[in-house]
């Protein structure tokens, strides 16, 4: 490795160095504010260092990682999202009592896992990144372990996610047995040359897809999602729903693109079927929920279904550029929206005994109690619906354009039906928020600091900006593809 390699790896190095510093700091002097500040500094520095690393892009650093502009863009997005999560969770974590400092260390490590995932183009780095992301998340979900809900959620996630990892690993082992290589592009080339029978390759592909589909909570593998979202601390849920899913999606996309798995029509059509199932089942199940976090969980399944549509569009080589562009824009808009939504839910549920539990009645009359908070939450929800002027609209519009380009009418129909159902349950939350409060619910103004409010405000501004002036980001994404 030479200087250029190190420069290309800069974001990952900053994150690792920050994690080690944070660990030493915790070992010598404990202090929530200090740890939070150091974690934020690390994450922001890592995001900034992407700008320096991009000078070397695209660069293959050892056979494991490829640092191209696309990976670096998402590294920066993940680091910023994690920094926002750190700031949102400061109050939450110290409220829950003892030793809150390691939380930030785990969050930094988990972000590092996500960054490794987006830049992985080798099975070894994929598996390691995935594990780093998930193992940190187990502990993050169970972090406030005085209450029962987070523990339950963490156990469920641990067992099921472990199974999913094992399945993925088995699939890759079969692929390695068939092809003798672990690099994505060589894997693609060897697949055509291999003498191994088609059934084994299909089984391997299905196992890999099932394992990653679990992490990505697509429909036949989605059962963990509502329970984990419900039980996890709200900021962690936001992180899990945005960064972890985006990272898994991007690595799956890279695997398909580099190894050119789109030529296996049956595999891609399977993703199309799963996309439709996810859109419909996610939206229909979300209708039945009275818990807002569960509702968002089901809606996230549907959102991932919408996103998966780009796989079908990618079958035609000509449409790939647009499809990847749409996916990138959608992911960035989705990350901003989801983190804003869960950040605001953190504020809504402040000073509750079971803070992980956010029911519809908790937001009842929010417009009258805390108008500012309610307006911000309104924007986040509208962005999830996909109302014009918000990021969600442009993102969905992009997907529709991609689907029309690829003439995937069935998928497009499912997207429209799903979105129509979605309007109902998002609007129900808004309806609850606008109800006149019958009796004054005992909730005083939340004690969260100014920083959280400013941050939520800033996220809302980003959502609106992405929805009104999307051209700069679009142009940038197009230029790096």
């Amino acid at each position: 490795m030479n200087a250029a390699d190190f420069q290309a790896l800069l974001p990952l190095l900053v994150l690792s160095g920050g994690a080690v510093l944070l660990m030493l700091q915790i070992a010598f002097v404990r202090g929530v504010n200090r740890s939070a500040a150091l974690a934020t500094l690390t994450l922001v520095l890592a995001a900034l260092s992407c700008a320096s690393a991009v000078e070397q892009a695209p660069r293959q650093v050892t056979p494991l990682l490829v640092m191209d502009a696309f990976a670096l863009l998402f590294c920066a997005v993940f680091c910023l999202a994690a920094a926002v999560t750190v700031l949102l969770s400061g109050d939450y974590i110290s409220y829950h009592g003892d030793e809150p400092e390691e939380y930030f260390l785990l969050l930094v490590l988990s972000t590092l896992g996500a960054c490794v995932l987006v830049s992985a183009n080798h099975v070894a780095s994929l598996v390691l990144g995935l594990e780093l992301l998930s193992v940190s998340l187990y502990a993050l979900i169970a972090y406030p372990n005085k209450s029962i809900l987070p523990l339950e959620a963490a156990i469920k996630y641990l067992v099921l996610s472990g199974t999913a990892s094992a399945t993925t690993l088995f699939g890759f082992a079969l692929l390695y047995a068939a092809t003798g290589t672990l690099a994505f592009d060589a894997l693609g080339e060897q697949l055509t040359a291999t003498a191994t029978g088609r059934p084994m390759l299909l089984l391997a592909g299905a196992m890999v897809f099932a394992g990653l589909g679990f992490k990505f909570s697509l429909v036949p593998f989605h059962l963990w999602t509502p329970d984990v979202y419900h039980g996890a601390p709200a900021p962690v849920t936001g992180f899990l729903a945005s960064v972890s899913k985006a990272a898994v999606f991007l690595v799956l996309l890279r695997l398909f693109l580099d190894a050119d798995l789109f030529r296996y029509r049956i595999l891609v059509e399977l993703t199309g079927l799963i996309a439709i199932l996810s859109m419909l089942a996610g939206n229909l199940l979300a209708l039945l929920q009275t818990n807002i976090k569960r509702m968002l969980a089901y809606s996230s399944i549907a959102h991932m279904g919408y996103l998966l549509l780009v796989f079908m569009v990618c079958i035609e080589r000509d449409n790939r550029g647009l499809a990847v562009e749409a996916a990138a824009y959608y992911l960035i808009a989705y990350i901003a929206t989801i983190i804003a939504a869960f950040g605001l839910l953190t504020l809504v549920s402040a000073r509750q005994v079971e803070r992980e539990d956010v029911q519809l009645q908790h937001v009842s009359g929010l417009f009258w109690r805390q108008p500012l908070l309610a307006c911000l939450l309104l924007v986040a929800l509208l962005s999830l619906v996909g109302v014009p002027l918000t990021a969600g609209f442009i993102a969905k519009f992009y997907l529709v354009v991609a689907a029309v380009d690829g003439s995937n009418w069935v998928l497009l129909g499912a997207l429209i039906v799903g979105s129509a159902i979605g309007i109902y349950y998002y609007m129900r939350v808004i309806y609850y928020m606008s109800r006149k409060p019958e009796q004054q619910v005992s909730q005083a103004a939340p004690a969260d600091g100014l920083a959280v409010r400013v941050l939520s405000g800033a996220l809302i501004v980003i959502i609106l900006l992405l929805g009104t002036v999307p051209q700069p980001l679009m142009a940038y994404i197009r230029s790096i593809l």
Binding site: M23, P63, L64, L105, L109, S110, L128, K146
Partner: protein, 170 residues
Amino acid sequence: MLETLFYGAALIALTATAAALTRANAAHALIYLIVSLLAVAVLFFLLGAPFAAALEIVIYAGAIMVLFVFVIMMLNVGESGRAQEREWLRARHWIVPGILAAALLLELLLALRHNPVATSAMEVDPKRVGLALFGPYVLAVEIASLLLLAALVGAYHLGRHFIVRREDQR
């Protein structure tokens, strides 16, 4: 010949794993799990990776499993525990794992008569492993170390809470 030994060891691994999954008693299940790990080590050995086989025995069957057995045994202290341990040590509980392990030893001895001991063309010795790990895969080693850090910190946080609560009760 080596192929036969390979499938024999694979069969033992599958049998032992199935038995480990179906035992109601944790201690018995662990014994079968150890046999299963030993069988996997023999598989590695036959595939031409003696270093991986040694690691499998030292780390998995050795360190980790012995730790498990200790913890389970320590949970049964006192008179009732002693009676239970005597019950566990009856022949019908250890005879099957014993036979399986003896079969693995026999396989190993048979395999050692061949030279080189490998069903594959290439033997992967420690030097090769080291060169791969600290050559092209050096970043994987680094990421794995951070993965262990995450696991350690998480386990510390969750486990520590449990210890503190116990002390409070006293």
